[in-house]
Amino acid sequence: MTDIIGYILITIGILFDIFGCIGLVRFPDVYNRLQASTKCVTLGTIFLLIGVALVSATGAIGAKSIVCAVFILITSPTAAHAIAKGAYASGVKLWENSVVDKYGEDTSKLPKSNSASE
């Protein structure tokens, strides 16, 4: 019974991975691609690792896959945040049909001396 639930979770996870990678290819902008691919692939890989832990119920594989899932859950949004900040700082423009840019408004309101002292 747990094998069946595990294989269903693995299937859902791989479907989320494929949708995230299609988003990585099809979206028009760095920030849209980051949004789609990071969220979908993180959730899909966590589903896949929980499914692996359910299929191999005992032993080292299940424990290590749970540890790996927790690690990916912590580190993947951190990496996405760092990439978005780096992309904005390196001067990549938004897509031409984007309507809101809160980060640009916030950083343009900062006093000039703060950015000159860096």
Binding site: Y7, I10, T11, G13, I14, L15, D17, I18, G20, C21, I22, L24, V25, V30, R33, L34, S37, T38, V41, T42, G44, T45, L48, L49, V52, V55, S56, G59, A60, I61, K64, S65, V67, C68, F71, I72, T75, S76, T78, A79, A80, A82, I83, K85, G86, A87, A89, S90, V92
Partner: protein, 85 residues
């Protein structure tokens, strides 16, 4: 059954490699490298339950760590700062 899983993850890897080769700017390639690392962690987990050997999960953990550190280093490089800021 396992062949379908492997085929799905191969499709993910090839889509990421398309974006690495095609991507118009450097952050596109950084995003694709990050995603490719996470997909390969899932690949190692599937190989672990098929063969029954647990060193594949060691490879997956090490790959996740190295992918995270490499992505952070590339993001710092894109931002134009040193590593200790």
């Amino acid at each position: 059954m396992e062949l379908i899983f492997y085929f799905g993850l191969f499709v993910c890897c090839f889509l990421c490699m398309y974006r690495i080769g095609r991507g118009p700017s450097a952050p596109d390639r950084t995003v694709a490298i990050d995603i490719l690392g996470i997909v390969i962690v899932g690949f190692c987990a599937l190989l672990g339950i098929e063969t029954g050997k647990d060193f594949y999960m060691n490879i997956a953990l090490a790959w996740a760590l190295l992918s995270f550190i490499g992505t952070i280093a590339l993001a710092k490089f894109l931002e134009g700062k040193d590593f200790d800021d």
